[in-house]
């Protein structure tokens, strides 16, 4: 395949460049409205889980599709007095009066409207209200924006908080962070690429490949929106991974081309060799990374499926652009690829290609293979140790900077109010027969009683708990004639419809706490009482419990799938059984070190003041899954770059140690440069204000650093030295399979390389 590609790009470079340009133009036009086609709903929910069922029953059966927004009021001047002063009350009611006319607002519960002391801060200076906002098709974001524009007052400061507000603020901050990261990384990359290549023309090629990758990937993403809902976050993944890997691949191919060109001035021959070696490596690497990311499609949550799809698309895009468009550009440029060389940098680049530091260092490592292996493993295990006390928890407003509005609301509620958790558990109940009939009410009454008796439950609000003076018989009578008591009719409309009813459970624990999730488990463990067919538990703690259980169920399978995919692809690339196994194990170790560092930083709060974030107390499972898939792919990427060079040297007839040293010498600078460049991209993302993006960027950056240093410089040469001739061993049937499907280009390269070695 690669000789064919080499021939095609060598003979018809203009055709390919023009085709690429047309595709880019069409892709740009086609994807102009991509953002309008992407859904704002992130898709975290686990399909068919209890929390998902609750949302569906609330929406489809009870006609309730609302999300709470907290409005926190603070006086702008001390003259307004405390919350009970007429002036303060008038100022708050002026705002709420406007909110009451908002068509998106279903109801409002406030301090001045209810007299409930929980809505008033301990010092009496702040009050809050809870507005139930229609969720609509965009999770309530448009309604939230309208509400936000509406609640302005010269006398009181109005801050919006709650889950929706936090989500809104995180999205807004992410947009800023990502734009800043993209601009910053592109500029720094341009400079660094010139430094790495020593030539402006060569440096521009990875950036061109990156730009084309992003445009084509975005167009693919839009095409997929015809079939599935894709969240806006997917676009961010495309830009981050697409740019990073495109630069990675382009760097590898351009470097190899220049190396071959320096050896043999024949452009076509150099291009053919480049494609047979680096091209092939990039293809394998792209396949491996894309396959790893596609494994995320196994998770039931749409969010992960979107991430897997977007990641896979961008990697595949980077790979195809690198092996199709880039060779055509190289064919057109020929020796002009070294044009616009900066003299100082060019000399440094030349010295680098001739230098033997990597070679000598590899021998240094291989001579102390056991010592290095044990020391490196020890260091990796030490770095990974914090994983042992890792706690998986949900992200909340603490992941936002202190200045974010929803963060300020959450901090105020936690610090200034007695009990202000506005995330009740939502229990939807399906009764046998209409809920207001005797059997339904009896079942509901019993379920309410049982839930109320659970430790940590403060109150249960529902059809049969409106007044402690009423007994079951009273409720039966009340709901038999609801029209006689206007409030009864309203209560019935609020809590029930047909055979469905809802209970709201208030509890003493923070909604993100394990205790809140335990309460969900305890309610779910109850058998439905007579009169009740079934019930589902929803609300934030239930949603998060379902999310964690889903990860617990599916993540081991995903890890297995990724490991298998990588093992198979590496085997077909290298013809070895032990090296893929070793690669998988070392990458797992490398990842555990990354996760350990993340736990040490984000969960335990070390370096929090330096990195400017609030210690989270737990790790967001989403971040870990995404880092696992992306970092595993990236580290395999480097493994492939390195091992392909070592294998090539072996095929040139070098002995094991020399092949390892030469392979490392030839790939070391490239891997280090690639790591540096990717590090810039990821580091720019790590500078974001939202902890999610900061942890993603830092996690991947750490993974790249660990991989390019401890793993690639120490662990790999030491283990390759110790495995010796077993490196390229495979059982005979597998070897036959490898030889049958093995890309034979290396043989011709080997011949050329052999001649080169002899020279």
């Amino acid at each position: 395949m690669f000789p064919f590609l080499g021939g095609l790009t060598g003979r018809h470079p203009w055709l390919i460049v023009w085709l690429g340009a047309i595709l880019v133009a069409l892709g740009s036009l086609y994807s102009l409205d991509l953002m309008q086609r992407l859904t704002l709903a992130p898709g975290w929910e686990v399909p068919d889980s209890g929390s998902d069922a609750t949302v569906r029953v609330m929406r489809d059966q009870l006609g309730r599709d609302e999300t709470p927004v907290i409005l926190l009021f603070r006086p702008r001047s001390a003259e307004l007095g405390d919350a009970d002063s007429p002036a303060y009350r008038a100022a708050v009611e002026e705002v709420l009066g406007a909110v009451a006319r908002n068509a998106d607002v279903r109801s409002v519960l406030s301090y001045h409207g209810s007299g409930d002391a929980r809505f008033r801060s301990r010092d009496g200076r702040q009050v809050y209200a809870v507005a139930q906002l229609a969720r609509g098709s965009d999770e309530g974001l448009a309604a939230f924006e309208r509400l936000r524009a509406q609640v302005r007052s010269e006398r009181v400061e109005v801050l919006l908080g709650g889950e929706l507000a936090t989500y809104y603020d995180i999205r807004a901050q992410l947009e800023i962070d990502i734009l800043r990261a993209e601009v910053l990384s592109f500029l720094v990359l341009a400079v660094l690429l010139v430094w790495v290549f020593g030539s402006v023309v060569a440096a521009m090629l990875p950036l061109i490949v990156g730009g084309v990758t992003i445009i084509l990937s975005v167009a693919w993403l839009k095409w997929f929106t015809q079939f599935i809902d894709i969240s806006v976050y997917a676009a961010n993944v495309v830009s981050m991974l697409g740019l990073a890997l495109a630069i990675d691949y382009a760097l590898f191919i351009v470097s190899r081309f220049r190396e071959e060109l320096a050896r043999d001035p024949d452009v076509h021959a150099s291009l053919m060799t480049t494609l047979r070696t680096a091209g092939r490596t990039v293809a394998y690497s792209g396949l491996t990374v894309a396959a790893s990311l596609f494994c995320l499609l196994m998770l039931p949550q749409r969010f992960f499926q979107n991430m897997g799809l977007a990641g896979g698309i961008s990697v595949a895009g980077a790979m195809l652009t690198s092996i199709l468009l880039l060779p055509a550009l190289l064919a057109l440029l020929g020796h002009r690829v070294n044009r616009l060389a900066l003299p100082v940098l060019a000399r440094r680049a030349a010295r680098q290609s001739d230098g033997g530091r990597w070679y000598r260092f590899s021998y240094f490592v291989m001579r102390r293979a056991w010592l290095v292996l044990i020391a490196t493993l020890g260091l990796l295990l030490l770095l990974g140790a914090p994983v042992l006390h890792m706690v998986i928890g949900p992200a909340d407003s603490k992941s936002l900077p202190l200045s974010a509005e929803s963060r300020r609301v959450q901090d105020s509620l936690e610090q200034k109010f007695q009990h202000a958790d506005m995330s009740p558990l939502v229990v939807t109940v399906h009764t046998r027969g209409p809920v207001q009939e005797a059997a339904g009410l009896a079942g509901l009454h019993e379920l309410t009683r049982r839930i109320r008796e659970l430790p940590g439950v403060l109150a249960v609000k529902g059809l049969v708990s409106i007044d402690d003076k009423l007994e079951l018989a009273d409720y039966e009578l009340l709901y038999a004639y609801p029209e006689q008591f206007a409030m009864a009719a309203e209560t019935l409309a609020t809590y029930a419809r047909g055979e469905h009813s809802v209970l709201y459970v208030e509890y003493a624990h923070p909604h993100t706490s394990p205790a809140a999730r335990e309460l969900v488990r305890a309610i779910r463990a109850m058998a439905p009482p007579p009169g009740v067919q079934s019930f589902h538990v929803g609300g934030f703690p239930a949603f998060h419990l379902d999310y964690l259980e889903s990860l617990g169920k599916w993540v081991p399978w995903i890890i297995l799938a990724i490991v298998l995919v990588i093992f198979v692809l590496l085997f077909f690339m290298l013809g070895s059984v032990l090296i893929p196994l070793k690669a998988v194990l070392t990458n797992l170790l490398s990842l555990s070190a990354t996760f350990g560092a993340l736990v040490w930083v984000f969960q335990d709060g070390n370096l929090s003041s330096w990195l400017n974030f609030t210690p989270q107390g737990s790790m967001d499972g989403t971040i870990l899954v995404l880092i696992f898939a992306a970092a595993f792919g990236l580290s395999i990427d480097y493994e492939v770059f390195l091992l392909s060079r070592v294998k090539e040297m072996c095929q040139h007839g070098q002995d094991n140690q020399r092949a390892v040293a030469t392979g490392i010498q030839r790939s070391g600078p490239i891997i280090t440069s690639a790591a540096l460049l990717i590090g810039v991209v990821l580091g720019a993302f790590a500078m974001g204000e939202v902890v999610f993006m900061k942890a993603m960027g830092l996690g991947l950056l750490l993974s790249v650093i660990v991989d390019a240093t401890l793993v690639r410089m120490l662990l790999v040469p030491a283990s390759l030295r110790l495995l010796g001739h077993l490196n390229w061993w495979a059982p005979r049937p597998l070897m036959r399979l490898y030889q049958r499907f093995n890309m034979s280009e290396l043989n011709s390269v080997a011949a050329r390389g052999g001649r080169e070695n002899e020279r």
Binding site: R101, L109, G113, G115, L478, E483, F485
Partner: protein, 256 residues
């Protein structure tokens, strides 16, 4: 419970002067079925037109009563919808189910006083009783509490056009939802409005409502006894715009 709430607002309106436009701003508190609701109250009066605004659990509503055209308009601002009812249609059914001679209204001064801007408000004990049916059970609907009235104030003489309109035979004032569900009770409350109208300007009221009787419904009602209080905090005679008494532009108008 809300129908009583509305009735009290209407009493206030009917007792208000008609000489000039009048705005009243107050506060209401409802305790019913284990819940408490505190809300703003606003009343605007011009001749035979009355508008009452309220916020119920965070939702804004307006009631427009036009005694000249005999129409009641219920506006839901969040839905931008206005439902217009003919008073005569509501009155017909209610009239057949209620006899005004069965209505008892006792008002006894206690001697306590308080001032609302220029008005001297006097406290009275109030007891209203009327026979109604509750799910087929004969009970007496009772309202017991205190009512603050300002008598012989200059503005009271100006209430004549409105009081006159209230005394018309086909007068009906209440909320349509109650009129359809409990027509007798709705008519009874309308009669209370009629009788209280000439007695003075209402400053505040605080009453408990319940159903008395020996049956199960009465017993349940005692457990669900409700309390409602309305207090006016200030009034103004500044001229009002005509739009105050119109359905806002762009609202959907429904005539059930």
């Amino acid at each position: 419970m809300m129908h009583v709430f509305v009735w009290l607002a209407l009493v206030l309106a009917v007792a208000a002067p008609a000489r000039a436009d009048l705005s009243l701003v107050g506060r209401s508190t409802v305790n019913a079925m284990g819940m408490q609701g505190i809300g703003q109250e606003g009343l605007w009066l011009r001749k035979t037109k009355l508008r009452r605004d309220m916020i119920d659990r965070g939702k804004a509503y307006s009631h427009l009563y036009d005694l000249a055209s005999r129409e009641i308009t219920i506006i839901d601002h969040s839905l931008r919808q206005a439902r217009v009812y003919a008073m005569s249609a509501l009155n017909q059914d209610a009239d057949a189910r209620f006899s005004s001679k069965n209505l008892r209204l006792d008002l006894n001064p206690t001697g306590r006083k308080h001032q609302l801007q220029g008005w001297n408000c006097l406290e009275n004990r109030i007891h209203v009783a009327m026979p109604v049916e509750l799910a087929g059970e004969k009970v007496s609907f009772e309202m017991v509490g205190t009512i603050w009235l300002a008598r012989n104030e200059p503005e009271q003489a100006e209430t004549a056009p409105f009081v006159k309109a209230v005394q018309e035979p086909d007068f009906f004032m209440g909320i349509p939802a109650l009129a359809s569900k409990s027509p007798a009770q709705a008519k009874g409350l309308s009669e209370v409005v009629k009788r209280l109208a000439p007695l003075g300007l209402l400053c505040a009221v605080d009453v408990e409502t319940r159903y008395e009787g020996a049956g199960r419904m009465a017993e349940l009602s005692r457990k669900l006894a409700s309390r409602i209080a309305v207090t006016y905090e200030k009034y103004s005679t500044d001229a009002l715009k005509e739009e105050v008494f119109r359905i806002p532009e762009g609202y959907q108008v429904v005539r059930p």
